[in-house]
C-alpha cells in the first residue's frame, strides 16, 4: 500500500539517499530543507510519517515536534527523528516531546527502512506522547 512520507532534512545528499531508499520500498516521498516549511508541508501533503532532522535552519526539530504534538489535527502523526546528536539529554528531550522513534546518524539503510516499516504498520497513536 502506497504511503506518504515527508522528510525534513537540510543536507541534500541525505535527502537524496532517503528518497531513493523509501521510493524503492514503494512509498511516495516529499522533502523540505527548512524548519519553517515543515508544518505547511504537513498540511499540504498529509503524510503518514514525518522523518525529521533535529538540526534544521530557521526552526529546530524540537520546536517543530512540540508544535506537532500540541496541534489537535497533527498530534497523532508518527514522527521519526534523525539526529547527529546521540546524547542522552537529547534523547530524553525527544522522548518527552513524544517522538515515536529516533535514528542516530550515520544510520544503516537497512535499520532505517525496517524502523520506517514498523512505524507505518503500527496503529495510530491515541494520545500525544508529550508531557
Amino acid at each position: 500500500m502506497l504511503r506518504r512520507i515527508l522528510i525534513a532534512e537540510d543536507e541534500p545528499y541525505i535527502v537524496e539517499s532517503l528518497t531513493f531508499l523509501l521510493s524503492r520500498e514503494g512509498h511516495q516521498v516529499t522533502a523540505v530543507g527548512d524548519g519553517a516549511a515543515v508544518l505547511p508541508a504537513i498540511t499540504r501533503s498529509r503524510p503518514d510519517l514525518l522523518i525529521l532532522d533535529i538540526m534544521l535552519p530557521t526552526a529546530n526539530g524540537f520546536e517543530i515536534l512540540a508544535e506537532i504534538r500540541h496541534n489537535m489535527a497533527l498530534k497523532t502523526l508518527p514522527v521519526m527523528v534523525l539526529t547527529a546528536k546521540g546524547q542522552d539529554a537529547d534523547r530524553r528531550r525527544m522522548t518527552d516531546l513524544g517522538v515515536d522513534d529516533f535514528v542516530t546518524k550515520p544510520f544503516s539503510n537497512h535499520d532505517l527502512v525496517t524502523r520506517v516499516a514498523r512505524l507505518l504498520e503500527a496503529p495510530r497513536r491515541m494520545t500525544s506522547g508529550g508531557r
Binding site: P57, T58, K105
Partner: protein
C-alpha cells in the same frame, strides 16, 4: 587510635647514624636494656627523654614521635577508603610509614598523579562536549559520514541501478569523502591547538569552568546566606545593617574613599569602599566583605577544588567569585527573587527597582536560579568591555558562551554599547536551527566626574527560545515564532559563509546562509 611506632623510628635513625644501642643509651643516660624495650615498642616514650634521644640523633622530636607523619598517615587511610581492596587498618599504615616513609610518600605521589591524569581526562572530555567549534565540526562530519555510508550501502545492495545513477552516487561518495577528510583535518587541527589543551589558559578560565560545572548554582552558599540573613533579622539587609554587623561582629570600620579599590577586609581593621560606586554596588561590596568573613572556611574549602583550580592565584579569584555569589544570595533571597522574577516576567529594571540591585547584579542572580526543584529560566551570561574583551562566561546546555576569541559580532552584546542603559534584545537564529532570546544592556560601573573616562560594560543574558513566553522581552517575537536574526556563536565555528560581519574564516563550509531565514528588525523596547 593506634600508636605511632616511635621505637621503630628511633631504631631506624640510630642505624642511619651508625650508632650502637649501647652508645645511644649512654649518650642519653639510660640503660641499653631500656632502649631495647623502647625500640621494640615495649615501652612508651615521650617528653624529656624523647627530646634527648632526638637531640642525640640530630633530628626533630616530631620526626620520631610521628606528628610529622600524621598527614601522611591520614592521606594513606584516605586512599584506603577510595580503594576497597586496600587494607584500611591504621596500624598497617603507620607501620609502612615507620618502616619505609619514602615508599609511602612515593605511593601517595603516584596516586596523586593518577588522580590528576584522570581529572584532566574528565576536564578534556567536558571541554570537547561544550566547545561550539567542535560541535559544529562534529555535526558536519556526521552528516558527511551519513551520506557516504548510505550511498555506499545503496551501491552495494542495489545491483540493478542504471549506470547514470550508479555514476552519480559514486560521485557523491567521492565528493563527500573529500569533504569528510577536510572536516577531520580541521578537527585534528582544532584538537591539537587551544581548546584541546589539558588545562585552561588563565585563572579566570578556571573559575568559569568551575562555575559552569556547578551549573552556576551553589546550594551550600544559598543555605549559608539564608542563615546569615535570618541572623541579621531582615528580609533584605540594608547597607547600614551590613556595616553594623561588620563593626560589631568583626570589629571593622567602613571608610568611603574618594577613589581606589576597596581593600581586602582580611588585611585591615578598616574596609575601604570606593566612594565612586553607585549605592547598589556599595551595598554589594559591603555584603561581599561580610560573607568573606562569615563564610571564610566554607569559601576556602569550596575554592580548593583541584579538579578545576590549579594555582593559588586562581584559588584566590575563586574565593572572591564565590563570595560574590554569596553576597548575591544574601541580598536577593532565592525564593523571593524567583517569585518576583516570574511575576515581573524577568524584567531586569523592575527587579532592580524592587531589590535595589544593579542591572548586572540582577542579571547575574537570574543565572543562579538553578535549584532543581525550583528552577527559573535557565540563562547563560556574558560580559564584554567596549574593546570586546569577554569575561564572566556562564553557559547553559544549549547556549555556549565562546571561550576563545570574540563572540558572534551580530549579538546584541555589542549593539548595546550604542544605547547605554537601554535593553537591546534579539531572537538569534543559529546555523543549526536553534533559536535563542538574547537580552543585553550597557551599564556604567561607577559614577564619574565630567571629563573622566567611564567604566562601561555590556552584559548579556540569553536562553532557549522555548522559554521566551515567560519573559517580557520575548513578547516582541511572539507574533511570528519563526522570526529572528541569523547569527552564530563565533566566526570560527559558524557555517554562514556569506555573513557580512564574518571576522575569521569558517573551519568547515556548509550550506547555511544568512539569506535562508526571514529577518526581523532588532526589537529595542
Amino acid at each position: 587510635m593506634t600508636r605511632f611506632p616511635t621505637g621503630g623510628q628511633i631504631r631506624q635513625q640510630r642505624r642511619k647514624k651508625r650508632l650502637t644501642q649501647s652508645a645511644l643509651a649512654a649518650a642519653v643516660g639510660i640503660s641499653t636494656a631500656y632502649l631495647n624495650l623502647i625500640e621494640n615498642e615495649k615501652r612508651p616514650i615521650g617528653g624529656a627523654l624523647l627530646k634527648r634521644i632526638a637531640a642525640a640523633l640530630g633530628v626533630e622530636p616530631s620526626h620520631l614521635s610521628g606528628s610529622e607523619n600524621l598527614r601522611l598517615t591520614q592521606d594513606l587511610l584516605e586512599l584506603a577508603r577510595i580503594y576497597p581492596d586496600m587494607p584500611a587498618e591504621e596500624d598497617q599504615a603507620l607501620q609502612l610509614i615507620a618502616a619505609a616513609p619514602d615508599w609511602a610518600r612515593a605511593f601517595l605521589q603516584l596516586h596523586r598523579r593518577y588522580r590528576d591524569a584522570t581529572e584532566t581526562a574528565s576536564a578534556l572530555s567536558d571541554r570537547l562536549s561544550q566547545d561550539s567549534a567542535l560541535i559544529g565540526l562534529s555535526h558536519a562530519i556526521l552528516s558527511r559520514s551519513t551520506a557516504i555510508r548510505s550511498f555506499a550501502e545503496i551501491l552495494e545492495q542495489y545491483p540493478d541501478l542504471k549506470a547514470p545513477r550508479r555514476r552519480r552516487y559514486a560521485g557523491i561518495v567521492a565528493t563527500e569523502a573529500e569533504q569528510l577528510a577536510t572536516g577531520v583535518r580541521a578537527m585534528v587541527d582544532l584538537l591539537s591547538s587551544g581548546p584541546g589543551s589539558a588545562m585552561p589558559a588563565s585563572p579566570e578560565d578556571e573559575i568559569d569552568d568551575f562555575i559552569n560545572y556547578h551549573r552556576s548554582h551553589f546550594p551550600a552558599l544559598e543555605e549559608a546566606a539564608d542563615a546569615l540573613r535570618r541572623r541579621l533579622g531582615g528580609e533584605r539587609p540594608s547597607a547600614a545593617v551590613i556595616a553594623e554587623r561588620l563593626r560589631t561582629a568583626h570589629n571593622l570600620i567602613i571608610r568611603d574613599e574618594a577613589a581606589g579599590e576597596a581593600a581586602d577586609p582580611e588585611d585591615s581593621a578598616i574596609i575601604r569602599i570606593d566612594g565612586t560606586l553607585p549605592e547598589p554596588s556599595r551595598r554589594f561590596a559591603l555584603a561581599r566583605a561580610l560573607v568573606g568573613l562569615e563564610f571564610g572556611d566554607l569559601l576556602a574549602e569550596m575554592a580548593a577544588d583541584r579538579r578545576f583550580i590549579s594555582s593559588d592565584a586562581a584559588e584566590a579569584l575563586c574565593r572572591r567569585a564565590l563570595a560574590g555569589y554569596a553576597a548575591g544570595a544574601l541580598l536577593f533571597p532565592y525564593d523571593g527573587f524567583l517569585a518576583a522574577a516570574e511575576r515581573w516576567r524577568y524584567d531586569l529594571d523592575r527587579l532592580a527597582q524592587q531589590f535595589g540591585g544593579s542591572i548586572e547584579q540582577i542579571a547575574h542572580r537570574l543565572v543562579t536560579l538553578r535549584r532543581p526543584e525550583a528552577e527559573g529560566v535557565p540563562f547563560a551570561f556574558l560580559r564584554s568591555d567596549p574593546a570586546g574583551n569577554l569575561s564572566k562566561r556562564f553557559s547553559t546546555l544549549g547556549l555556549h558562551m565562546p571561550r576563545f576569541g570574540g563572540a558572534c559580532p551580530l549579538w546584541p552584546l555589542y549593539a548595546a554599547f550604542r544605547t547605554p542603559d537601554r535593553v537591546v534584545t534579539q531572537m538569534a537564529l543559529m546555523p543549526e536551527g536553534e533559536r535563542y532570546l538574547l537580552i543585553a544592556r550597557c551599564v556604567a560601573k561607577r559614577v564619574v566626574g565630567y571629563g573622566q573616562p567611564e567604566t562601561l560594560f555590556s552584559i548579556m543574558i540569553g536562553c532557549d527560545a522555548i522559554h521566551s513566553s515567560r519573559i517580557v522581552y520575548g513578547d516582541a517575537y511572539a507574533r511570528d515564532p519563526r522570526s529572528g536574526t541569523p547569527a552564530g556563536f563565533a566566526c570560527r565555528s559558524c557555517s554562514r559563509v556569506d555573513c557580512p560581519q564574518r571576522a575569521h574564516p569558517a573551519i568547515l563550509a556548509s550550506t547555511a546562509s544568512t539569506k535562508d531565514t526571514r529577518l526581523s528588525p532588532q526589537a529595542m523596547p
